[in-house]
């Protein structure tokens, strides 16, 4: 359970140009799956990351090795698991290992190309909070689930993708707590801490895609999903959002992508 869990609701509908009609969450999920093209192995948290990784296996990357922190390597679930420990993940895996082995030999061992994380709060350097939120002077801290595997996933995977809905509540100017380091306070922080992976390379939201600027490591909006606007993205971001000079628009989900995604989810709901 890497970072926060997300519901499986499909969000609000948004019309798209040229592609199939789909919801905002579906745009996020399809683009997250596409980001796994070319990866050999992916460390998967439950929720949106699991949806995206399983969709990738059905679309852009059939050979993608799914690694779940419950100990399964090479799982091929036929439906979306509700929990990271669903029996099907073990039954369909190439290998099942103990949890200590998973974290020590496989994750820390540098065997995983891409780590997929969610977040409750994200800042401009893609640092993540999933521990506590400040709810104001008169209220106690709000409790979140905690770190799970995230700090070491972010440290030790080749790179990290973050998937979360684009809201001011999620995209905050300053984290209430740093659970998981992204790019710290800017370029060089990861290297100074001796972290081996490249860290977050993309944040995929229901509005578009943000990537760390090459010189600043600050997240920039590099792509919008069809139908989304820069204004919407700025409005949903708690800091002054930089927009890349070469801002693009993501390709609309294909019918094949959407039907694969919907079939996955329907099977998951049916099984649950």
């Amino acid at each position: 359970m890497s970072g926060t869990e997300s519901g499986t609701g499909s969000g609000t509908e948004s019309g798209t140009d040229g592609g199939a009609r789909c919801g905002r969450d579906e745009l996020m999920e399809v683009n997250a799956a596409r980001a796994l093209a070319g990866a050999r192995s992916c460390f998967v948290g439950i929720g949106l990351p699991s949806t995206a990784a399983n969709l990738a296996r059905r679309t852009v990357n059939p050979d993608l090795v799914l690694v779940y922190e419950s100990g399964t390597i090479g799982s091929r679930p036929t439906r979306l698991p509700l929990s990271i420990g669903d029996g099907e993940l073990a039954d369909t895996a190439d290998a099942v290992v103990s949890v200590p082995e998973m974290f020590n030999y496989w994750l820390q061992g540098g065997r995983i190309d891409v780590g997929f994380l969610g977040a409750a709060q994200l800042d401009r350097f893609a640092n993540i909070n999933t521990t506590v939120v400040d709810r104001g002077p008169d209220r106690p801290e709000g409790r979140l689930p905690g770190a799970g595997g995230a700090p070491e996933i972010a440290a030790n995977c080749g790179e990290v993708l973050i998937v979360l809905r684009h809201t001011r509540r999620n995209f905050v100017p300053a984290l209430d707590f740093v659970t998981t380091l992204g790019h710290g306070t800017g370029p060089g922080d990861r290297a100074a801490l001796g972290m081996r992976g490249a860290g977050p390379t993309a944040v995929i939201t229901d509005l578009g895609i943000l990537r760390p600027g090459p010189d600043t490591a600050e997240l920039e909006l590099t792509a919008l999903h069809p139908g989304a606007t820069v204004e919407q993205a700025r409005e949903a971001t708690g800091w002054e959002l930089r927009v890349a000079a070469d801002l693009t628009v993501t390709e609309a989900p294909t019918e094949a992508e959407l039907s694969a995604l919907r079939a996955l989810k329907a099977a998951g709901r049916k099984a649950a």
């Binding site: 399964t72 993940l89 949890v99 200590p100 820390q108 770190a147 070491e152």
Partner: protein, 271 residues
């Protein structure tokens, strides 16, 4: 050598007020029945240890059995928050809950150190995280060969570890398979060990692919409790009751609803 006992007697003898107790099982094989017996016997002041507190610790926390929680991810997997856990942390109900909070990698290595009778374990972890600032069980060590600084985590050696397994034989040798999580480490790190099993088999345990075998001489008591992992599951015996996990959200959100559920389903239930 493990004694085969009733769950009631085993919990009564092995789990005491104020103990540090680990009930492990990573989603799979979670020892719910043993947790319910702890609640029924009114054992209190526990320090509970578990990577993923899950619904099982939500119940123990809400029942008032817990003083402190040592953990790395406290949610209802795939569903949302653990409301009893949050209510205890945020509002001190039924009483305040002290936290010792880690990452999964850190917790797994704390058990490894415990099982290895080492005082600490080393990992590439916690770098840049605020976690070490909130606990005294993360520190740094310097590699004597390379000079690199690494994280150190303090060993976990629970007074009691409880796990659920598929099978035991009459000598108390235990076999579990499927996702085996961190159970072997949690068992070997503990001073006392209770294993609940789906089934006690006659004769020798039939070896299974991917199984962990725990010899009876590292276990204090085995109790036969079919379905003892519900709503978690035991591969080969049951499937995860995902509906229960989803319904738990509503049951646990409200103190009174929760208390009624606990009275009806745990306190008044007899095994």
């Amino acid at each position: 050598m493990a004694d085969i006992r009733s769950l009631h007697d085993a919990v009564g003898d092995l789990v005491h007020d104020g103990d540090t107790v680990a009930l492990e099982g990573f989603t799979h094989l979670i020892p719910f029945a043993a947790a319910h017996e702890i609640i029924r016997q009114g054992i209190t002041g526990l320090t509970l240890v578990r990577m993923t507190p899950d619904v099982v610790y939500d119940q123990l926390i809400g029942a008032g059995a817990v003083r402190k929680l040592v953990f790395s991810w406290g949610g209802n997997p795939g569903v949302g928050s653990l409301h009893r856990f949050r209510d205890a942390v945020e509002n001190g109900w039924p009483h305040p809950l002290e936290l010792d909070e880690h990452s999964h990698a850190g917790m797994a290595n704390r058990y490894v150190a415990g099982a290895s009778q080492l005082p600490f374990a080393v990992l590439r972890g916690y770098r840049g995280s605020g976690i070490p600032g909130r606990t005294d069980t993360v520190a740094t060590v310097t590699c004597p060969f390379t000079g690199e600084e690494l994280a150190a985590v303090a060993a976990l050696n629970p007074d009691v570890t409880v796990v659920h397994a598929q099978q035991a034989d009459r000598d108390g040798n235990v076999q579990l398979w499927g996702l085996t999580g961190v159970q072997k480490e949690a068992v070997l790190a503990a001073r006392r060990v209770l294993v609940t099993v789906e089934e006690i088999v006659d004769g020798a345990l039939e070896p299974r692919p991917g199984s962990v075998v725990l010899p009876g001489w590292v276990i204090d008591a085995v109790a036969e409790v079919p379905g003892g992992a519900h709503p978690s599951y035991a591969a080969g015996y049951s499937v995860r009751d995902n509906d229960f996990y989803q319904e738990w959200d509503a049951v646990s959100r409200d103190r009174d609803t929760f208390t009624r559920w606990l009275d009806d389903n745990v306190r008044k239930a007899v095994r």
